[in-house]
Amino acid sequence: MDKRDVVASGEISAVKAIVINAHKCISCNRCVEICQVDALLPNPEKGKPPILQYPGECWYCGCCVMECPVEGGISLRHPLMNQADWVLKSELEERGRGSVM
């Protein structure tokens, strides 16, 4: 393969995995450098946020979030089917007392 032909091909992924807030991102690429699977690529345009090129490979370790110097600059987005449910304990107790069925 000719080196000039080397690209990262685009594809539509089933999951978003990581969301970068373009307004908050300072393009320091710390998330790129900590990501163990290189899910993120540095943006070829200087000053622009990294590109989530391989979202399907994300392990959701959250190290990118831990490294980000800006609160809310980067966050995870769990697949819908893996979002666990919780309820108020008081609701269960009410149900137990028969007031809610």
């Binding site: 163990q36 995870l76 769990h78 666990a84 309820v87």
Partner: protein, 641 residues
């Protein structure tokens, strides 16, 4: 999503030659500790890591508890007692040497990590008054708090601390380099290991590492039976890139393996079937001892191993009457009666409205903060994907209860053929130096057979690093054999030459391997089907591998990983064929074969004459304390005076 021009230099024609006394492959917990131990002895060390050392490996993003620290000043259990329990609990199918090292030296490693800047005790007094806090040391214990051999730790601080220490010691670190094969003397299988090859995951550059000794510290295999190209990540227990590269390299070079026939029905896995590890309601491990309530808010009581109900919260941390100690928190691995701890038994489901929920709201506030904050916060990968994510989404453990989705600590019910290498799975056979059968190759952490957690990785890494450094001082350097290097270059760069329109993608091949393993190597093994599976995988190797395609160094890395998964899958099939009887402790069921336990390790290797195996008695390690002391006199003298 757009096509992006590759942002890194493309260097796949370039070759870099790197010489060192000691080569450490894998920069996770065990690799870092191996490199640190050797460098502290004055050894010239090179460390190779596929990701970025600061957070790489299965323990890179955290660890909440450190097991089997039997020599900590509060422990009431000796290393010998604890190792004996781990052996007995698995009918001898465990790695006595590595777990004895864990029990004997794990606490030394904790102190080392603390000296590097890792946090191992409640020095700020955030948890004064907690049930399992030792006032004198500030240590917080988990599970059996009478016997105090498992510590709660702030594991997110550990890897960055180790990384700093490596740099202070002048260890030369090669990051974003995937190790691909061992270099052996004369380029022959079964010969002394004299280095390794590698490929840069961003540039494609080729590396030739030449060393006097090598420590292999890569991960255990994964993605063997279960893989989903759409949902590989969140519910997986070990990192995407940790697929067992070292196992595959070792098998191709003639290393010996034990217990590779063992697999368990999946507990957490790819394919998104489960919930995030530690992210669904349960009362085990990190969540121990959360209360469990039914859908009417009715608490299901904890009972001890004799079925006696435990009324006080503090009783959940105590062994039963006449029980010396218990293992772990909640019966994660179904321990024997002797080692079984307090547990919730929803035995009569008719009494309970489903689903069940984990309830932290009713336990003491300080204990709630320990579980939701310290434990869920520091464990494996919980800080961001569970603690932070759930908190931001509104979960308040003082009010909310979290739904349970499976039995025990699991959050899904897997099928019998959906399997995993989990809970003391197979790996490299080792001797008392943590040497493999290949001269010059030492093994630590998750590549060892019957490995487990962070403490085991750190202790065995340090130990293997010391022994390999000693070997390096007396070993001669050997030049790599050029033909072996060229063959490896042909193998690894082959996929770049194929056509992107017709070439086979790494994900397609991974799915196909996984399906083959589910079909022919499920819960019940039959030799005829195992052989069909083996033929299928061999066909993938000869017919499909030459047709795989990678368009850039990143895709090449993923593809080389799947080559490794293909190799490891064949190793598993060979191991399943080699064991002729069923074995309950190995979770190994061969149709029509009785459970008369042979009581032997079947050790396999790939030799010039084909796959060979030999039987090794389970107690091949001999006397633990005696052998440990014989092999580590210098360490004992230096460390303990």
């Amino acid at each position: 999503m757009n096509h992006v021009n590759w942002p890194y230099p493309v260097q796949w024609e370039e070759e870099e030659y790197v010489e060192s006394d000691l080569l450490v492959l894998g920069g996770g917990v065990s690799g870092c500790m191996a490199a640190i131990a050797a460098a502290e002895k004055g050894c010239d060390v090179v460390l190779v890591e596929k990701g970025s050392v600061r957070r790489s490996g299965a323990g890179g993003s955290g660890c909440d508890h450190w097991e089997h620290a039997a020599t900590n000043p509060c422990s009431k259990v000796s290393p010998e007692e604890l190792t004996a329990a781990m052996l007995d609990d698995n009918d001898g199918y465990n790695n006595a040497i590595s777990h004895y090292i864990e029990c004997r030296e794990g606490y030394d490693r904790l102190l080392d990590i603390e000296s590097m800047g890792g946090k191992i005790r409640d020095s700020e007094g955030d948890y004064i008054g907690a049930l399992c806090r030792d006032e004198k040391t500030g240590f917080l214990f988990a599970y059996d708090c009478e016997n105090r051999f498992t510590l709660r730790v702030w594991g997110t601080t550990f890897k960055p601390a180790m990384h700093r220490r490596l740099k202070e010691l002048g260890v030369r670190i090669y990051e974003r380099v995937m190790t691909t094969s061992f270099l052996t003397e004369k380029g022959q299988i079964g010969q002394r290991v004299i280095g390794a090859t590698g490929v840069n995951t961003r540039t494609g550059k080729f590396y030739m590492f030449n060393s006097k000794a090598t420590v292999l510290c890569t991960s255990r295999p994964s993605r063997i039976w279960l893989f989903s190209s759409a949902y590989p990540g969140l519910s997986e227990f070990r990192p995407t890139q940790c697929v067992g590269d070292g196992h595959a390299m070792g098998w191709r070079s003639g290393a010996e393996f034990a217990m590779m026939e063992k697999s368990v029905r999946a507990e957490f896995s790819a394919a998104g079937k489960s919930y995030p590890p530690y992210g669904a309601g349960n009362n085990h491990n990190t969540w121990y001892p959360a209360s469990i309530v039914d859908a009417n808010g009715k608490e299901i009581p904890y009972k001890n191993r004799d079925g006696q109900e435990l009324h006080n919260f503090s009783d959940r941390f105590r062994p039963a009457p006449n029980q010396k100690f218990f293992l772990m928190g909640g019966n994660v691995e179904e321990p024997k009666y002797e080692y079984k701890g307090p547990e919730v038994y929803p035995d009569d489901e008719d009494d309970h409205a489903l689903p069940l929920y984990a309830d932290l709201s009713s336990i003491p506030e300080i204990e709630r903060r320990i579980i939701w904050g310290l434990m869920i916060g520091e464990e494996g990968k919980t800080k961001i994907p569970v603690y932070d994510y759930y908190t931001k989404a509104g979960f308040d453990p003082s009010k909310h209860v979290l739904q349970c989705y499976g039995s025990g600590w699991k959050s899904a019910s897997f099928m019998p053929d959906e399997r995993q290498l989990f809970g003391l799975s197979g790996g490299f056979m080792n001797d008392w130096s943590l040497g493999s059968n290949l001269e010059g190759l030492y093994v630590a952490g998750d590549v060892l057979f019957a490995s487990n957690c962070f403490g085991h990785a750190a202790a065995t890494g340090h130990y293997a690093g010391r022994h390999a450094a000693d070997y390096a001082t007396r070993a001669e350097r050997k030049e790599p054999y050029r033909f072996q290097v060229e063959q490896e270059k042909l193998r690894i760069y082959g996929p770049l030459k194929n056509d992107c329109m017709t070439g086979i993608d790494w994900r397609e091949l991974n799915e196909a391997i996984a399906k083959t393993m589910r079909l022919y190597c499920g819960e019940e093994k039959r030799d005829d089907l195992l052989n069909v599976g083996l033929r299928k995988l061999r066909a993938y190797e000869t017919d499909i591998l030459p047709r795989t395609f990678a368009g850039n160094p990143h895709e090449l890395t993923r593809l080389l990983e799947v080559h490794n998964i293909l190799t490891v899958s064949q190793l598993i099939l060979h191991s399943c064929l080699a064991r002729t009887q069923s074995s309950a402790p190995l979770n190994f069921f061969k149709v029509g074969r009785s459970f008369e336990d042979e009581g032997k390790l079947i050790v396999l290797s790939n030799t010039q004459k084909g796959v060979q195996n030999r039987e090794v008695p389970l107690d091949y390690y001999g006397s633990l304390a005696e052998n440990y002391e014989r092999y580590n006199a210098g360490y004992i003298r230096r460390r303990h005076g």
